[in-house]
């Protein structure tokens, strides 16, 4: 886009601007001093870590990946992915979260918070995490494959108990 105006025209406009400030949009705000907000309340990391494990699980399944395939794509250990999906007490390494954020193309910062590696200051994220965890809880019956896997695993457990 090209603007054609005379030198006098621009100069007159500049003079008219005077000593008034000109800025717009939140991004133009000067950086603020980082202080704990009064509304910020300590949020139990474990609450959001439930959502983290479920999130990774659903994202993996939505892409039709097995744990092994995701581990390969994200350059992670299979064992760590299994623990992430199943153990809310597990806190992954920052690199792991970084790799997962890159793989799923989501905010690294937010995923760090979900994973318990950064404090969740945003109450709305906490609420959304809990809501997500609740809504993503499967209610459908097990598929044939899940049943088969479950039965096989139960059988293994039974054998171990028997020993």
């Amino acid at each position: 886009m090209r603007l054609e105006r005379s030198k006098q025209w621009w100069l007159a406009r500049a003079k008219k601007e005077g000593n008034t400030a000109v800025s717009a949009g939140l991004l133009a705000l000067d950086p603020m001093q980082d202080e704990p907000s009064e509304s910020a309340v300590p949020i139990a990391a474990e609450d959001v870590r439930i959502a983290f494990g479920k999130f990774i699980n659903l994202m993996r399944r939505r892409r039709g990946l097995s744990v092994e395939q995701l581990a390969e794509e994200a350059s992670l250990e299979v064992s760590e992915l299994v623990v992430i999906e199943d153990d809310v007490h597990y806190v992954p390494e920052p690199r792991t979260v970084y790799q997962l954020a890159q793989t799923f193309k989501v905010s690294q910062q937010r995923l760090m918070q979900l994973a318990g590696l950064a404090q969740v200051k945003d109450a709305s994220l906490h609420q959304e995490a809990i809501r997500f965890a609740a809504r993503s809880e499967p209610v459908q019956k097990l598929t044939r494959e899940e049943n088969a896997a479950l039965e096989a695993f139960v059988a293994v457990l039974s054998e171990q108990n028997a020993k």
Partner: protein
């Protein structure tokens, strides 16, 4: 994409002379480098001076720091959007990012497309509100003019909208004669202003008469 550069003129405040500058219809890597290497240190220096008037830095809490990381990440995102920049003496003097997907809120224009200015900032040394005489005057006006011109070019009849920072309310209300729609709770209560086609016409007419 080809970047178009228009020749504009700013007022060099120390000398009182007009200086040639460029209004570019893009924000490029060079602008981000200037922001990081020149704007940021200049603003930190000014803010520290301001703060020092009230509280000695030595008394500030250990955790004191500015959230530059957040702002830097946001500024780096500018490359992905349509933007404008003013360059003078080979240094970026002002930046603007626009969004063409928003609609007017003024009742008479409700729902019609406009150019939404979602970011407009001038270099710290050009900001009179920071307590010193600006180096160049006219940078912000040039960017607003570009937004109105883009709106006309896009067939939006000069309609623009923006959230003003508190210190700039007077500029948009009194100098640009935009309609003040009051604080917007969805944007940290910044006041939302719009320029209607009639106001845009007047804005440009006033300029052509000068």
């Amino acid at each position: 994409m080809t970047v178009e550069a228009s020749t504009i003129y700013l007022l060099d405040v120390p000398s009182g002379e007009a200086v040639e500058a460029e209004l570019r219809d893009a924000i490029e890597e060079k602008q981000l480098i200037d922001w990081q290497t020149q704007w940021q240190p200049a603003l930190i220096a000014v803010l520290q001076q301001l703060a020092q008037r009230h509280v000695p830095i030595a008394d500030w809490p250990q955790s004191w720091h500015w959230n530059w990381r957040t702002k830097m990440a946001q500024v780096h995102g500018l490359l992905a959007f349509q933007g404008f920049s003013v360059v003078c003496a080979d240094v970026t003097q002002g930046l603007m990012r626009v969004d063409l997907t928003k609609f007017a809120r003024v009742p008479a224009e409700d729902g019609k497309p406009l150019v939404f200015v979602d970011y407009l900032e001038v270099a710290p040394w050009n900001r009179p509100e920071l307590g010193h005489a600006p180096r160049y005057r006219g940078v912000g006006t040039a960017l607003v003019t570009a937004a109105v011109a883009l709106s006309e070019q896009e067939g939006f009849k000069g309609r623009i909208g923006l959230h003003s920072l508190p210190q700039a309310d007077a500029f948009y209300r009194d100098r640009c004669c935009m309609t003040d729609l009051g604080p917007d709770s969805s944007c940290q209560n910044l006041r939302y202003f719009e320029m209607t086609p009639e106001q845009a016409r007047k804005f440009l007419e006033e300029e052509s008469e000068s």
